[in-house]
Protein backbone atom coordinates (compact mmCIF):
# COMPACT_ATOMS: atom_id res chain seq x y z
CA UNK A 1 0.00 0.00 0.00
CA UNK A 2 1.15 3.51 -0.72
CA UNK A 3 2.69 5.45 2.09
CA UNK A 4 0.20 7.52 3.95
CA UNK A 5 0.93 10.85 5.47
CA UNK A 6 -1.58 12.62 7.57
CA UNK A 7 -0.39 15.99 8.70
CA UNK A 8 -1.15 17.13 12.18
CA UNK A 9 -1.50 20.69 10.95
CA UNK A 10 -5.06 21.04 12.07
CA UNK A 11 -4.40 19.93 15.56
CA UNK A 12 -2.18 22.88 16.39
CA UNK A 13 -2.08 21.92 20.01
CA UNK A 14 0.59 19.36 19.34
CA UNK A 15 3.77 20.72 20.82
CA UNK A 16 6.84 20.37 18.65
CA UNK A 17 9.46 18.04 19.99
CA UNK A 18 11.53 19.50 22.75
CA UNK A 19 14.98 20.70 21.83
CA UNK A 20 17.85 21.87 23.95
CA UNK A 21 17.35 25.43 25.09
CA UNK A 22 20.63 27.18 25.28
CA UNK A 23 20.12 30.64 26.71
CA UNK A 24 20.78 31.20 30.38
CA UNK A 25 20.26 34.21 32.49
CA UNK A 26 18.24 36.09 35.02
CA UNK A 27 16.16 38.21 32.59
CA UNK A 28 14.50 35.08 31.18
CA UNK A 29 13.52 33.95 34.66
CA UNK A 30 12.27 37.41 35.54
CA UNK A 31 10.21 37.56 32.36
CA UNK A 32 8.39 34.41 33.46
CA UNK A 33 7.60 35.72 36.92
CA UNK A 34 4.18 37.24 36.05
CA UNK A 35 3.14 34.00 34.40
CA UNK A 36 4.41 31.93 37.30
CA UNK A 37 2.43 34.13 39.69
CA UNK A 38 -0.74 33.75 37.62
CA UNK A 39 -0.31 30.00 37.38
CA UNK A 40 0.33 29.69 41.10
CA UNK A 41 -2.39 32.04 42.34
CA UNK A 42 -5.13 31.49 39.74
CA UNK A 43 -4.71 28.16 38.04
CA UNK A 44 -3.54 26.27 41.13
CA UNK A 45 -4.60 28.47 44.04
CA UNK A 46 -8.13 29.33 42.96
CA UNK A 47 -8.79 25.77 41.89
CA UNK A 48 -7.76 24.36 45.29
CA UNK A 49 -9.73 27.13 47.01
CA UNK A 50 -12.87 26.16 45.11
CA UNK A 51 -12.40 22.49 45.93
CA UNK A 52 -11.84 23.36 49.59
CA UNK A 53 -14.98 25.52 49.71
CA UNK A 54 -17.03 22.61 48.41
CA UNK A 55 -16.38 20.78 51.68
CA UNK A 56 -17.69 23.64 53.84
CA UNK A 57 -21.13 24.92 54.78
CA UNK A 58 -20.56 28.39 53.24
CA UNK A 59 -23.64 30.24 52.09
CA UNK A 60 -23.42 34.00 51.50
CA UNK A 61 -19.87 34.29 52.83
CA UNK A 62 -17.14 31.67 52.78
CA UNK A 63 -16.63 29.67 55.96
CA UNK A 64 -13.78 27.34 56.65
CA UNK A 65 -15.46 24.56 58.53
CA UNK A 66 -15.54 21.00 57.25
CA UNK A 67 -18.75 19.15 56.52
CA UNK A 68 -17.33 16.28 54.50
CA UNK A 69 -19.34 15.32 51.45
CA UNK A 70 -22.58 16.88 52.69
CA UNK A 71 -22.75 19.36 49.79
CA UNK A 72 -22.24 16.58 47.25
CA UNK A 73 -25.08 14.61 48.85
CA UNK A 74 -27.31 17.68 48.54
CA UNK A 75 -26.27 18.04 44.92
CA UNK A 76 -27.31 14.52 44.04
CA UNK A 77 -30.70 15.12 45.66
CA UNK A 78 -31.11 18.51 43.95
CA UNK A 79 -33.57 18.30 41.04
CA UNK A 80 -32.03 21.23 39.26
CA UNK A 81 -28.59 19.67 39.36
CA UNK A 82 -29.78 16.24 38.30
CA UNK A 83 -31.60 17.79 35.33
CA UNK A 84 -28.46 19.81 34.54
CA UNK A 85 -26.30 16.70 34.54
CA UNK A 86 -28.79 14.80 32.37
CA UNK A 87 -28.91 17.72 29.96
CA UNK A 88 -25.14 17.69 29.67
CA UNK A 89 -25.29 14.05 28.63
CA UNK A 90 -28.16 14.53 26.14
CA UNK A 91 -26.70 17.70 24.68
CA UNK A 92 -23.18 16.30 24.72
CA UNK A 93 -23.93 13.09 22.86
CA UNK A 94 -26.15 14.69 20.22
CA UNK A 95 -24.02 17.81 19.77
CA UNK A 96 -20.74 15.92 19.42
CA UNK A 97 -22.25 13.26 17.14
CA UNK A 98 -24.02 15.92 15.08
CA UNK A 99 -20.91 18.08 14.66
CA UNK A 100 -18.74 15.10 13.77
CA UNK A 101 -21.16 13.62 11.23
CA UNK A 102 -22.05 16.93 9.61
CA UNK A 103 -18.45 18.16 9.79
CA UNK A 104 -17.15 14.97 8.20
CA UNK A 105 -19.77 15.01 5.44
CA UNK A 106 -19.08 18.67 4.68
CA UNK A 107 -15.32 18.08 4.63
CA UNK A 108 -15.61 15.05 2.33
CA UNK A 109 -18.06 16.76 -0.03
CA UNK A 110 -15.95 19.91 -0.19
CA UNK A 111 -12.93 17.77 -0.96
CA UNK A 112 -14.47 16.59 -4.28
CA UNK A 113 -12.95 19.44 -6.29
CA UNK A 114 -16.20 21.35 -6.13
CA UNK A 115 -16.64 24.75 -7.69
CA UNK A 116 -16.68 27.61 -5.22
CA UNK A 117 -14.89 25.64 -2.54
CA UNK A 118 -13.76 28.81 -0.81
CA UNK A 119 -17.28 30.22 -0.68
CA UNK A 120 -18.68 27.01 0.81
CA UNK A 121 -15.98 26.91 3.44
CA UNK A 122 -16.57 30.52 4.35
CA UNK A 123 -20.30 29.91 4.73
CA UNK A 124 -19.89 26.76 6.83
CA UNK A 125 -17.43 28.32 9.23
CA UNK A 126 -18.78 31.84 9.77
CA UNK A 127 -21.10 30.93 12.70
CA UNK A 128 -18.03 29.92 14.67
CA UNK A 129 -16.80 33.50 14.62
CA UNK A 130 -19.93 34.74 16.36
CA UNK A 131 -20.65 34.58 20.06
CA UNK A 132 -22.97 32.06 21.67
CA UNK A 133 -25.14 34.96 22.80
CA UNK A 134 -25.70 36.03 19.20
CA UNK A 135 -26.25 32.39 18.18
CA UNK A 136 -28.77 31.87 20.95
CA UNK A 137 -30.72 35.04 20.25
CA UNK A 138 -30.85 34.34 16.52
CA UNK A 139 -32.14 30.78 16.93
CA UNK A 140 -34.56 31.82 19.63
CA UNK A 141 -36.13 34.21 17.16
CA UNK A 142 -36.19 31.73 14.29
CA UNK A 143 -37.69 28.90 16.37
CA UNK A 144 -40.19 30.91 18.42
CA UNK A 145 -43.62 29.34 17.82
CA UNK A 146 -45.59 32.58 17.48
CA UNK A 147 -43.82 34.25 14.59
CA UNK A 148 -40.98 31.97 13.56
CA UNK A 149 -40.65 28.65 11.75
CA UNK A 150 -44.05 27.35 12.95
CA UNK A 151 -45.90 30.33 11.56
CA UNK A 152 -43.90 30.15 8.36
CA UNK A 153 -44.93 26.56 7.64
CA UNK A 154 -48.55 27.22 8.71
CA UNK A 155 -48.76 30.18 6.35
CA UNK A 156 -47.63 27.87 3.57
CA UNK A 157 -50.88 25.93 4.04
CA UNK A 158 -49.98 23.29 6.64
CA UNK A 159 -52.26 24.75 9.31
CA UNK A 160 -51.77 21.84 11.74
CA UNK A 161 -48.00 22.12 11.72
CA UNK A 162 -46.60 22.43 15.21
CA UNK A 163 -43.04 23.24 16.11
CA UNK A 164 -43.00 24.38 19.71
CA UNK A 165 -39.74 22.76 20.85
CA UNK A 166 -38.45 26.01 22.27
CA UNK A 167 -41.31 26.26 24.78
CA UNK A 168 -41.81 22.53 25.24
CA UNK A 169 -40.23 21.07 28.37
CA UNK A 170 -39.50 17.77 26.69
CA UNK A 171 -37.99 19.18 23.52
CA UNK A 172 -36.31 22.48 24.45
CA UNK A 173 -32.92 20.84 24.97
CA UNK A 174 -32.92 19.76 21.31
CA UNK A 175 -33.21 23.35 20.13
CA UNK A 176 -29.94 23.98 21.96
CA UNK A 177 -28.44 21.03 20.10
CA UNK A 178 -29.51 22.51 16.75
CA UNK A 179 -28.04 25.91 17.58
CA UNK A 180 -24.89 24.30 18.96
CA UNK A 181 -24.34 22.25 15.80
CA UNK A 182 -24.93 25.34 13.68
CA UNK A 183 -22.19 27.08 15.64
CA UNK A 184 -19.66 24.26 15.87
CA UNK A 185 -19.96 22.04 12.77
CA UNK A 186 -17.79 24.39 10.71
CA UNK A 187 -14.89 24.04 13.11
CA UNK A 188 -15.11 20.26 12.89
CA UNK A 189 -15.19 20.55 9.11
CA UNK A 190 -12.08 22.76 9.08
CA UNK A 191 -10.14 20.34 11.28
CA UNK A 192 -11.17 17.26 9.27
CA UNK A 193 -10.63 18.98 5.93
CA UNK A 194 -7.05 19.77 6.88
CA UNK A 195 -6.67 16.08 7.67
CA UNK A 196 -8.21 15.04 4.34
CA UNK A 197 -5.76 17.24 2.48
CA UNK A 198 -2.95 15.28 4.07
CA UNK A 199 -4.22 11.93 2.80
CA UNK A 200 -2.07 10.66 -0.05
CA UNK A 201 -3.80 10.91 -3.40
CA UNK A 202 -2.31 7.60 -4.56
CA UNK A 203 -4.49 5.93 -1.99
CA UNK A 204 -7.63 6.84 -3.92
CA UNK A 205 -6.07 5.71 -7.18
CA UNK A 206 -5.20 2.36 -5.61
CA UNK A 207 -8.67 1.98 -4.15
CA UNK A 208 -10.27 2.80 -7.50
CA UNK A 209 -8.16 0.21 -9.27
CA UNK A 210 -9.43 -2.32 -6.75
CA UNK A 211 -13.00 -1.23 -7.50
CA UNK A 212 -13.71 0.27 -4.10
CA UNK A 213 -16.74 2.59 -4.23
CA UNK A 214 -16.14 6.15 -2.98
CA UNK A 215 -18.34 5.86 0.14
CA UNK A 216 -16.47 2.72 1.14
CA UNK A 217 -13.16 4.42 0.50
CA UNK A 218 -14.04 7.30 2.82
CA UNK A 219 -15.60 5.16 5.52
CA UNK A 220 -13.13 2.29 5.69
CA UNK A 221 -9.87 3.84 4.54
CA UNK A 222 -9.93 7.59 5.07
CA UNK A 223 -11.85 7.77 8.35
CA UNK A 224 -9.38 5.53 10.23
CA UNK A 225 -6.54 7.70 8.88
CA UNK A 226 -8.25 10.80 10.24
CA UNK A 227 -8.40 9.34 13.72
CA UNK A 228 -6.09 11.95 15.30
CA UNK A 229 -8.21 14.79 13.89
CA UNK A 230 -11.44 13.11 14.95
CA UNK A 231 -10.07 12.67 18.44
CA UNK A 232 -8.91 16.29 18.62
CA UNK A 233 -12.25 17.57 17.36
CA UNK A 234 -14.12 15.34 19.82
CA UNK A 235 -12.07 16.56 22.76
CA UNK A 236 -12.60 20.20 21.77
CA UNK A 237 -16.34 19.65 21.36
CA UNK A 238 -16.54 17.78 24.65
CA UNK A 239 -14.84 20.65 26.48
CA UNK A 240 -17.32 23.11 25.02
CA UNK A 241 -20.16 20.85 26.18
CA UNK A 242 -18.93 21.05 29.76
CA UNK A 243 -18.48 24.82 29.47
CA UNK A 244 -21.90 25.34 27.88
CA UNK A 245 -23.40 28.45 29.46
CA UNK A 246 -23.84 31.55 27.25
CA UNK A 247 -25.94 29.72 24.68
CA UNK A 248 -28.40 28.52 27.32
CA UNK A 249 -28.65 31.92 29.00
CA UNK A 250 -29.31 33.67 25.68
CA UNK A 251 -31.61 31.09 24.11
CA UNK A 252 -33.76 29.50 26.82
CA UNK A 253 -32.59 30.98 30.13
CA UNK A 254 -32.63 27.41 31.44
CA UNK A 255 -36.36 27.10 30.79
CA UNK A 256 -39.11 26.31 30.25
CA UNK A 257 -39.09 25.61 33.98
CA UNK A 258 -35.74 23.95 34.61
CA UNK A 259 -35.83 21.90 31.40
CA UNK A 260 -32.61 23.25 29.90
CA UNK A 261 -30.52 23.95 32.98
CA UNK A 262 -26.83 23.04 32.65
CA UNK A 263 -24.11 22.59 35.30
CA UNK A 264 -22.19 25.77 34.37
CA UNK A 265 -25.36 27.79 34.87
CA UNK A 266 -26.10 25.96 38.11
CA UNK A 267 -22.69 27.03 39.42
CA UNK A 268 -23.07 30.64 38.31
CA UNK A 269 -26.57 30.94 39.78
CA UNK A 270 -25.58 29.47 43.13
CA UNK A 271 -22.38 31.50 43.45
CA UNK A 272 -23.68 34.90 42.41
CA UNK A 273 -27.45 34.92 42.78
CA UNK A 274 -28.57 32.29 45.25
CA UNK A 275 -25.76 32.89 47.74
CA UNK A 276 -25.00 29.25 48.20
CA UNK A 277 -21.25 29.18 47.73
CA UNK A 278 -20.66 25.68 49.03
CA UNK A 279 -23.23 24.08 46.76
CA UNK A 280 -21.98 26.10 43.78
CA UNK A 281 -18.35 25.19 44.35
CA UNK A 282 -19.31 21.54 44.82
CA UNK A 283 -20.95 21.59 41.40
CA UNK A 284 -17.89 23.38 39.98
CA UNK A 285 -15.67 20.68 41.45
CA UNK A 286 -17.76 18.01 39.75
CA UNK A 287 -17.31 19.90 36.44
CA UNK A 288 -13.57 19.90 37.08
CA UNK A 289 -13.59 16.16 37.69
CA UNK A 290 -15.57 15.59 34.49
CA UNK A 291 -13.07 17.56 32.42
CA UNK A 292 -10.14 15.74 33.99
CA UNK A 293 -11.77 12.43 33.09
CA UNK A 294 -12.22 13.62 29.49
CA UNK A 295 -8.75 15.03 28.94
CA UNK A 296 -6.51 12.82 31.04
CA UNK A 297 -6.43 9.90 28.57
CA UNK A 298 -6.03 12.30 25.67
CA UNK A 299 -3.13 14.19 27.21
CA UNK A 300 -1.57 10.92 28.24
CA UNK A 301 -1.80 9.47 24.73
CA UNK A 302 -0.64 12.63 23.11
CA UNK A 303 2.09 14.05 25.27
CA UNK A 304 3.32 11.29 27.51
CA UNK A 305 3.08 8.03 25.61
CA UNK A 306 3.90 9.28 22.12
CA UNK A 307 6.79 11.59 22.91
CA UNK A 308 8.29 10.17 26.05
CA UNK A 309 8.86 12.35 29.07
CA UNK A 310 9.77 15.87 28.22
Amino acid sequence: MATVTVRAAATGAAAPAARPRIGRGLPAALALVPTALIVLVVYVGCMLWTVRLSFTSSTLLPKFDFVGLAQYERLILNDRFVVSAQNTVIFGVLFIAGCLVLGFLLAVFIDQRVKGEGAFRTVFLFPYSMSFVVTGVAWQWFLNPGLGLEKLVRDMGFSDFTFDWLVNQEMAIYTLVIAGIWHGAGLTMAILLAGLRGVDEDLWKAARVDGVPPWRYYLSIVLPLLRPMVVTATVLLAISVVKLYDLVVAMTGGGPGIATEVPAKFVMDHLFERNNIALGTAAATLMLVTVVIIIAPWIYARYVRSKGRR
Binding site: R24, V41, R197
Partner: protein, 294 residues
Protein backbone atom coordinates in the same frame (compact mmCIF):
# COMPACT_ATOMS: atom_id res chain seq x y z
CA UNK B 1 -3.36 25.30 6.30
CA UNK B 2 -4.76 23.65 3.23
CA UNK B 3 -2.50 24.84 0.51
CA UNK B 4 -2.30 21.38 -1.02
CA UNK B 5 -4.80 20.15 -3.54
CA UNK B 6 -8.02 18.27 -2.80
CA UNK B 7 -7.37 14.58 -2.44
CA UNK B 8 -10.82 13.32 -3.36
CA UNK B 9 -11.77 11.43 -6.50
CA UNK B 10 -11.30 13.37 -9.71
CA UNK B 11 -14.65 14.67 -10.97
CA UNK B 12 -16.24 13.32 -14.08
CA UNK B 13 -18.82 15.22 -16.08
CA UNK B 14 -22.09 16.12 -14.41
CA UNK B 15 -23.43 12.81 -13.11
CA UNK B 16 -26.36 12.21 -10.74
CA UNK B 17 -23.81 11.79 -7.98
CA UNK B 18 -22.29 15.13 -8.78
CA UNK B 19 -25.69 16.79 -8.71
CA UNK B 20 -26.43 15.18 -5.35
CA UNK B 21 -23.12 16.48 -4.08
CA UNK B 22 -23.95 20.06 -4.97
CA UNK B 23 -27.50 19.64 -3.66
CA UNK B 24 -26.11 18.57 -0.30
CA UNK B 25 -23.61 21.41 -0.14
CA UNK B 26 -26.22 23.98 -1.13
CA UNK B 27 -28.72 22.64 1.43
CA UNK B 28 -26.03 22.88 4.08
CA UNK B 29 -25.21 26.42 2.96
CA UNK B 30 -28.89 27.37 3.35
CA UNK B 31 -28.92 25.88 6.86
CA UNK B 32 -25.89 27.95 7.84
CA UNK B 33 -27.01 31.17 6.20
CA UNK B 34 -30.70 31.10 7.14
CA UNK B 35 -30.38 32.48 10.70
CA UNK B 36 -28.12 35.29 9.49
CA UNK B 37 -30.53 36.13 6.69
CA UNK B 38 -33.52 36.13 9.05
CA UNK B 39 -31.67 38.34 11.52
CA UNK B 40 -30.81 40.81 8.80
CA UNK B 41 -34.25 41.12 7.19
CA UNK B 42 -36.07 41.15 10.53
CA UNK B 43 -33.92 44.07 11.62
CA UNK B 44 -34.99 46.01 8.51
CA UNK B 45 -38.76 45.57 9.02
CA UNK B 46 -41.23 47.57 11.08
CA UNK B 47 -43.03 45.62 13.83
CA UNK B 48 -46.43 45.39 12.04
CA UNK B 49 -44.81 43.70 9.11
CA UNK B 50 -43.07 41.23 11.43
CA UNK B 51 -46.37 40.35 13.15
CA UNK B 52 -48.32 39.86 9.93
CA UNK B 53 -45.76 38.86 7.37
CA UNK B 54 -43.55 35.95 6.50
CA UNK B 55 -40.32 35.60 8.47
CA UNK B 56 -38.38 34.86 5.28
CA UNK B 57 -39.90 37.58 3.14
CA UNK B 58 -37.95 40.62 2.12
CA UNK B 59 -39.02 43.79 3.90
CA UNK B 60 -41.56 45.77 1.83
CA UNK B 61 -40.03 49.07 2.82
CA UNK B 62 -36.63 48.49 4.39
CA UNK B 63 -35.97 50.87 7.24
CA UNK B 64 -32.96 51.41 9.46
CA UNK B 65 -35.17 52.69 12.26
CA UNK B 66 -34.65 49.55 14.36
CA UNK B 67 -30.88 49.85 13.94
CA UNK B 68 -31.00 53.41 15.20
CA UNK B 69 -33.12 52.38 18.16
CA UNK B 70 -30.88 49.41 18.96
CA UNK B 71 -27.79 51.59 18.79
CA UNK B 72 -28.94 54.55 20.85
CA UNK B 73 -32.19 54.02 22.72
CA UNK B 74 -32.92 50.35 23.43
CA UNK B 75 -33.31 49.52 27.10
CA UNK B 76 -30.70 47.39 28.83
CA UNK B 77 -32.40 47.05 32.17
CA UNK B 78 -33.01 50.46 33.71
CA UNK B 79 -30.94 52.51 31.30
CA UNK B 80 -32.19 53.16 27.79
CA UNK B 81 -29.08 54.28 25.97
CA UNK B 82 -28.92 51.46 23.46
CA UNK B 83 -26.22 48.96 22.73
CA UNK B 84 -23.74 51.68 21.77
CA UNK B 85 -22.79 51.83 25.45
CA UNK B 86 -21.90 48.15 25.31
CA UNK B 87 -20.05 48.63 22.04
CA UNK B 88 -17.74 51.26 23.48
CA UNK B 89 -17.30 49.25 26.68
CA UNK B 90 -16.27 46.27 24.58
CA UNK B 91 -13.78 48.42 22.69
CA UNK B 92 -12.31 49.74 25.94
CA UNK B 93 -12.01 46.18 27.26
CA UNK B 94 -10.75 44.77 23.98
CA UNK B 95 -7.80 47.04 23.19
CA UNK B 96 -5.76 46.70 26.39
CA UNK B 97 -6.72 43.02 26.81
CA UNK B 98 -5.57 42.08 23.32
CA UNK B 99 -2.30 44.01 23.53
CA UNK B 100 -1.37 42.82 27.00
CA UNK B 101 -2.28 39.17 26.49
CA UNK B 102 -0.38 38.94 23.21
CA UNK B 103 2.66 40.72 24.65
CA UNK B 104 2.76 38.39 27.63
CA UNK B 105 2.18 35.32 25.46
CA UNK B 106 4.96 36.29 23.05
CA UNK B 107 7.47 36.89 25.85
CA UNK B 108 6.49 33.59 27.47
CA UNK B 109 6.75 31.65 24.23
CA UNK B 110 10.14 33.17 23.54
CA UNK B 111 11.46 32.49 27.02
CA UNK B 112 10.15 28.93 26.99
CA UNK B 113 11.60 28.16 23.55
CA UNK B 114 15.09 29.53 23.82
CA UNK B 115 15.99 29.98 27.46
CA UNK B 116 16.67 27.49 30.17
CA UNK B 117 14.74 28.43 33.25
CA UNK B 118 14.27 26.12 36.22
CA UNK B 119 10.73 24.82 36.47
CA UNK B 120 9.71 26.21 33.08
CA UNK B 121 8.45 22.82 31.89
CA UNK B 122 6.25 22.41 34.93
CA UNK B 123 4.94 25.95 34.43
CA UNK B 124 4.10 25.22 30.83
CA UNK B 125 2.49 21.90 31.70
CA UNK B 126 0.17 23.45 34.28
CA UNK B 127 -0.73 26.23 31.85
CA UNK B 128 -1.57 23.69 29.16
CA UNK B 129 -3.88 21.76 31.46
CA UNK B 130 -5.33 25.02 32.77
CA UNK B 131 -6.58 25.82 29.28
CA UNK B 132 -9.12 23.01 29.56
CA UNK B 133 -10.52 23.69 33.00
CA UNK B 134 -14.02 25.22 33.13
CA UNK B 135 -13.94 28.86 34.19
CA UNK B 136 -16.53 28.21 36.89
CA UNK B 137 -13.80 26.52 38.90
CA UNK B 138 -11.85 29.80 39.23
CA UNK B 139 -14.55 32.43 39.37
CA UNK B 140 -15.50 32.67 43.03
CA UNK B 141 -11.96 32.81 44.47
CA UNK B 142 -11.00 35.32 41.78
CA UNK B 143 -13.90 37.55 42.76
CA UNK B 144 -12.68 37.43 46.38
CA UNK B 145 -9.10 38.22 45.40
CA UNK B 146 -10.12 41.17 43.24
CA UNK B 147 -12.42 42.48 45.97
CA UNK B 148 -9.54 42.33 48.44
CA UNK B 149 -7.37 44.24 45.96
CA UNK B 150 -10.14 46.80 45.59
CA UNK B 151 -10.41 46.49 41.82
CA UNK B 152 -13.43 44.16 41.51
CA UNK B 153 -16.00 45.42 38.99
CA UNK B 154 -13.63 47.72 37.12
CA UNK B 155 -12.01 47.96 33.73
CA UNK B 156 -8.67 46.92 35.23
CA UNK B 157 -10.32 43.83 36.65
CA UNK B 158 -11.90 42.62 33.41
CA UNK B 159 -8.70 43.30 31.44
CA UNK B 160 -6.68 41.33 33.98
CA UNK B 161 -9.12 38.45 33.74
CA UNK B 162 -8.83 38.36 29.95
CA UNK B 163 -5.03 38.40 30.20
CA UNK B 164 -5.10 35.58 32.78
CA UNK B 165 -7.36 33.32 30.77
CA UNK B 166 -5.77 34.15 27.43
CA UNK B 167 -2.39 33.14 28.78
CA UNK B 168 -2.45 29.39 28.00
CA UNK B 169 -3.45 29.79 24.37
CA UNK B 170 -1.17 32.75 23.69
CA UNK B 171 1.83 31.09 25.33
CA UNK B 172 1.23 27.84 23.47
CA UNK B 173 0.82 29.65 20.17
CA UNK B 174 4.09 31.57 20.43
CA UNK B 175 6.02 28.71 21.96
CA UNK B 176 5.11 26.47 19.03
CA UNK B 177 5.93 29.23 16.58
CA UNK B 178 9.34 29.99 18.06
CA UNK B 179 10.10 26.27 18.25
CA UNK B 180 10.07 26.36 14.44
CA UNK B 181 12.73 29.06 14.25
CA UNK B 182 16.26 27.63 13.78
CA UNK B 183 18.22 27.62 16.98
CA UNK B 184 21.30 28.72 15.02
CA UNK B 185 19.70 32.12 14.57
CA UNK B 186 19.40 32.47 18.31
CA UNK B 187 22.98 31.27 18.79
CA UNK B 188 24.25 33.84 16.31
CA UNK B 189 22.39 36.60 18.12
CA UNK B 190 23.87 35.43 21.41
CA UNK B 191 27.38 35.45 19.97
CA UNK B 192 26.79 38.99 18.80
CA UNK B 193 26.18 39.83 22.42
CA UNK B 194 22.40 40.10 22.39
CA UNK B 195 20.68 39.83 25.73
CA UNK B 196 17.22 38.48 26.55
CA UNK B 197 15.26 41.58 25.61
CA UNK B 198 17.47 42.69 22.74
CA UNK B 199 17.10 39.38 20.94
CA UNK B 200 13.37 39.36 21.60
CA UNK B 201 12.72 42.89 20.38
CA UNK B 202 15.22 43.09 17.51
CA UNK B 203 15.29 39.52 16.17
CA UNK B 204 12.28 37.48 17.26
CA UNK B 205 9.48 40.03 17.28
CA UNK B 206 10.07 41.19 13.68
CA UNK B 207 9.94 37.53 12.63
CA UNK B 208 6.68 36.96 14.49
CA UNK B 209 4.36 39.01 12.30
CA UNK B 210 2.32 36.01 11.04
CA UNK B 211 1.82 34.74 14.56
CA UNK B 212 0.97 38.23 15.80
CA UNK B 213 -1.75 38.43 13.15
CA UNK B 214 -3.12 35.01 14.08
CA UNK B 215 -3.01 35.85 17.79
CA UNK B 216 -4.77 39.17 17.21
CA UNK B 217 -7.56 37.52 15.22
CA UNK B 218 -7.99 34.91 17.91
CA UNK B 219 -8.02 37.35 20.82
CA UNK B 220 -10.19 39.98 19.14
CA UNK B 221 -12.95 37.46 18.35
CA UNK B 222 -12.51 35.61 21.65
CA UNK B 223 -12.61 38.68 23.87
CA UNK B 224 -15.33 40.42 21.87
CA UNK B 225 -17.52 37.32 22.15
CA UNK B 226 -16.88 36.78 25.85
CA UNK B 227 -19.97 36.78 28.02
CA UNK B 228 -19.20 35.10 31.31
CA UNK B 229 -16.17 37.23 32.31
CA UNK B 230 -17.87 40.48 31.36
CA UNK B 231 -20.90 39.47 33.39
CA UNK B 232 -18.84 38.52 36.43
CA UNK B 233 -15.96 40.99 36.54
CA UNK B 234 -16.67 44.11 34.47
CA UNK B 235 -19.15 45.77 36.78
CA UNK B 236 -22.29 47.68 35.84
CA UNK B 237 -20.37 50.56 34.26
CA UNK B 238 -18.31 48.42 31.89
CA UNK B 239 -20.65 45.65 30.74
CA UNK B 240 -19.50 44.43 27.31
CA UNK B 241 -21.73 44.26 24.26
CA UNK B 242 -22.66 40.57 24.61
CA UNK B 243 -24.02 41.15 28.11
CA UNK B 244 -25.88 44.29 27.00
CA UNK B 245 -27.37 42.38 24.08
CA UNK B 246 -28.62 39.67 26.41
CA UNK B 247 -30.13 42.37 28.64
CA UNK B 248 -31.85 44.10 25.74
CA UNK B 249 -33.35 40.87 24.47
CA UNK B 250 -34.45 39.51 27.83
CA UNK B 251 -35.44 42.46 29.95
CA UNK B 252 -37.87 44.24 27.68
CA UNK B 253 -41.20 44.98 29.30
CA UNK B 254 -44.38 44.37 27.32
CA UNK B 255 -44.20 43.32 23.71
CA UNK B 256 -40.77 42.47 22.43
CA UNK B 257 -39.46 44.59 19.60
CA UNK B 258 -37.98 41.81 17.50
CA UNK B 259 -36.64 44.20 14.89
CA UNK B 260 -34.68 46.10 17.53
CA UNK B 261 -33.49 42.82 19.09
CA UNK B 262 -32.23 41.59 15.74
CA UNK B 263 -30.58 44.90 14.89
CA UNK B 264 -28.79 44.78 18.24
CA UNK B 265 -27.77 41.19 17.54
CA UNK B 266 -26.39 42.14 14.13
CA UNK B 267 -24.48 45.01 15.70
CA UNK B 268 -22.97 42.67 18.29
CA UNK B 269 -21.97 40.20 15.58
CA UNK B 270 -20.50 42.83 13.28
CA UNK B 271 -16.98 43.03 14.67
CA UNK B 272 -16.25 39.27 14.71
CA UNK B 273 -17.93 38.85 11.33
CA UNK B 274 -15.79 41.63 9.87
CA UNK B 275 -12.67 40.03 11.33
CA UNK B 276 -13.75 36.70 9.88
CA UNK B 277 -14.48 37.90 6.37
CA UNK B 278 -11.45 40.17 6.13
CA UNK B 279 -8.99 37.67 7.54
CA UNK B 280 -10.20 34.66 5.54
CA UNK B 281 -7.72 31.82 5.78
CA UNK B 282 -5.87 33.51 8.60
CA UNK B 283 -8.95 32.99 10.74
CA UNK B 284 -8.87 29.26 10.03
CA UNK B 285 -5.20 29.19 10.93
CA UNK B 286 -5.99 31.04 14.10
CA UNK B 287 -8.72 28.75 15.34
CA UNK B 288 -6.72 25.69 14.36
CA UNK B 289 -3.72 26.97 16.26
CA UNK B 290 -5.77 28.14 19.21
CA UNK B 291 -8.26 25.32 19.10
CA UNK B 292 -6.86 24.02 22.32
CA UNK B 293 -8.83 26.75 24.06
CA UNK B 294 -12.07 25.05 23.06
Amino acid sequence: MSASLPSGPRPRRLTPGRIGLYAFLLTAAVFFLLPLWIMLITSLKPMEEIRLGNILALPMAPTLEAWGKAWSSACTGLDCNGISVGFWNSVRILVPSVILSIALGAVNGYALSFWRVKGANVLFGVLLVGAFIPYQVFLYPLVRIFSQMGIYNSLTCIVLVHVIFGLPTMTLLFRNYYAGIPIELFKAARIDGGGFWTIFLRVMLPMSVPMLVVATILQVTGIWNDFIFGLTFAGRENLPMTVQLNNIVHSTQGERAYNVDMAATMLAALVPLAVYFVSGRWFVRGIAAGAVKG
